[in-house]
């Protein structure tokens, strides 16, 4: 099940009057609250069939995109804000770890929600990888980057960002049977020219 714990960061929007956080480069904050895990469960479910079978909820990105401006009864999704709030913006990227350095990793990213799907690349500090995700942290690993803009009832805007690695399932006997069957079929199809 894709409920991998991750890392969350929040920053104020320096252009917004009353912003409560510094406009300096945001700082990384841990540990996570239970509500972080809840949010991540909503946003990072994986569509691998093995995983879906165990998942509590599939994600319909289109539905979620149209419903992000919903008022929630209570917070928090992070340590700030603690009051009722609106999610005013939501962007999601799927990333793949390309190269791991001593203190950073580089990744390719493609936006899956909230804008163009053009591919980007960026570097991230390896400290963003939660200890519970360390076993997943390898070149080729998939992660999800979610950025939310949140407005509290006083009009203060906050941006929260989180990284969670995809926690895939395990190969089942049904997977293996299907793979073996597909291998046999493809082998027969290409044997004459290969």
């Amino acid at each position: 099940m894709n409920t991998g714990t991750g890392s969350t960061l929040q920053s104020g929007n320096p252009t917004t009057p009353g912003s409560t956080l510094s406009s300096e480069r945001p700082t990384f904050s841990t540990p996570l609250t239970g509500s972080h895990v809840r949010v991540r469960r909503e946003t990072d479910l994986v569509s691998h069939p093995n995983v879906l079978s165990e998942s509590t909820r599939d994600v319909d990105h289109a539905t979620e995109a149209t419903s992000v401006k919903r008022r929630l009864a209570s917070g928090p999704i992070s340590s700030e804000p603690t009051e009722p709030y609106l999610i005013d913006g939501l962007e999601k990227w799927e990333g793949i770890v390309e190269r791991i350095y001593s203190k950073q990793f580089s990744a390719r990213l493609i936006r899956t929600l909230g804008g163009d799907s053009e591919e980007l690349e960026a570097e991230f500090d390896s400290s963003l990888v939660a200890s519970s995700d360390r076993d997943l942290y390898t070149e080729g690993a998939i992660f999800y980057l979610t950025v939310r803009t949140v407005v509290n009832n006083r009009g203060n805007r906050h941006r929260t960002a989180s990284v969670a690695f995809r926690r895939s399932g395990r190969w089942t006997s049904a997977d293996i049977d299907k793979i073996e069957s597909d291998i046999d079929a493809l082998t027969r199809a290409i044997a004459d020219v290969f």
Binding site: S11, S47, E94, S106, E123
Partner: protein
């Protein structure tokens, strides 16, 4: 978009294309016979430059392309290669690893199964999967001859009366390593599903091409080692009678792909070096030091695109930088428009006429 005048029948042409991340080489061997080494896509529209260029020249791709080579399965070398092979119906396909149909099928099927539900970023071998489907749907270009050819050390892949294409790598040891790596990727019940890994660079295929009196060396991503692999293995076993006058520099000019004996034994003193940059990672290639090193060894150096382009911060990129930049550094686009470097020389002619098309550039021009 690209040069539009076709070469004459007695003219050899080498073109390299690259958007800053990815590369493709196209060689005209004379008499409208072409081979393609690797593939890339131009950004942002995603066209395959080799196909656009050949279409622009009016070349009959279906018949004129004789060989499509995948030097190794890295996305910056094989992105879009299946679309070239699909149209090149008379072409053989060259794979860097000598594997059985079962092994190839296992690679493709496992990669697909491990990537189910993931977006376009995943699938280390999705181009191979498309190649498999094309292979399954059409006969070999020559009846009775397999359509897939395996590269290997000192193996002639294809030849005719006036030209020959020989692979210089991978060595037997590199091939063995690749098969061991493949075995480790296979699905085992109860194991966690990890994405399939990419081919190691020592597996990359380097090519030696002879066309008339011309000699050309294409380095792929081949690194100097490890022992019994890479350029160390090539220079230990291959000594041409005539050196190459064109050298497509391996692995984007990185120091790890540099081997002094390649320059002294395989490449002429007045060679032309062709570079394709790689903008991925923290240290884009080639660095200024890499370019200096190569310029000290070649008479001229050209690149398909600059290593560090001036990025245009349009609205979309600014927005992405603002959002991803909350956690990430150095947010950038993956590649840009494709440049072209084209070198031509007639049979019997000394030297090459080289032209560049923006954003390609010359680092050093022959004096």
């Amino acid at each position: 978009m690209y040069f539009s005048d076709a070469p004459s029948d007695d003219e050899v042409e080498v073109s390299i294309f690259g958007p800053g991340r990815g590369e493709s080489c196209l060689i005209h061997l004379g008499k409208s016979e072409w081979i393609v080494i690797d593939s890339c896509k131009s950004r942002p529209d995603g066209h395959v430059p080799v196909l656009s260029y050949l279409d622009g020249l009016g070349v009959d791709i279906q018949r004129a392309v004789r060989l499509v080579v995948a030097t190794h399965a890295h996305d910056d070398h094989i992105e879009g290669i299946s679309s070239i092979f699909e149209r090149a119906e008379a072409a053989f396909f060259v794979l860097p690893v000598a594997m059985s149909p079962e092994e190839f099928a296992a690679l493709v099927v496992t990669d697909r199964a491990a990537s189910l539900g993931l977006g376009s970023l995943r699938r280390a071998h999705k181009e191979y999967a498309k190649i498999a489907s094309i292979l399954a749907s059409r006969p070999s270009p020559v009846p009775g001859v397999k359509a897939v050819i395996f590269a290997g050390q000192g193996r002639t892949l294809l030849d005719s009366a006036n030209w020959a294409v020989t692979s210089l790598s991978p060595s037997d040891e590199a091939n063995q390593r690749a098969l061991q790596s493949l075995a480790s990727r296979l699905a085992v019940q109860g194991d966690r599903i990890y994405p399939t890994s990419r081919d190691p660079n020592e597996l990359a295929c380097a090519l030696w091409i002879e066309a008339g009196e011309k000699r050309l060396l294409f380095g792929g991503d081949l690194l100097a080692g490890p022992p019994n692999c890479g350029w160390s293995a090539v220079v230990a076993s291959f000594r041409p009678t005539r050196p190459a006058s064109i050298f497509k520099i391996p692995h984007h000019g990185s120091p790890g792909a540099h081997h002094e004996d390649v320059w002294s034994n395989l490449v002429s003193d007045d060679s032309i070096a062709l570079l394709t940059p790689f903008r991925g990672g923290r240290r884009p290639l080639p660095s200024p030091t890499d370019v200096e090193r190569i310029a000290s060894l070649a008479s001229a150096v050209y690149a398909s695109a600059p290593t560090r382009p001036g990025e245009v911060m349009d609205v979309e990129l600014r927005r992405a930088v603002s959002a991803v930049g909350a956690l990430g550094h150095n947010v950038r686009r993956l590649g840009g428009p494709c440049g072209q470097v084209r070198a031509r020389s007639r049979f019997g002619e000394e030297g090459w006429r080289v032209e560049v098309l923006d954003p390609a550039l010359s680092h050093k021009v022959a004096s």
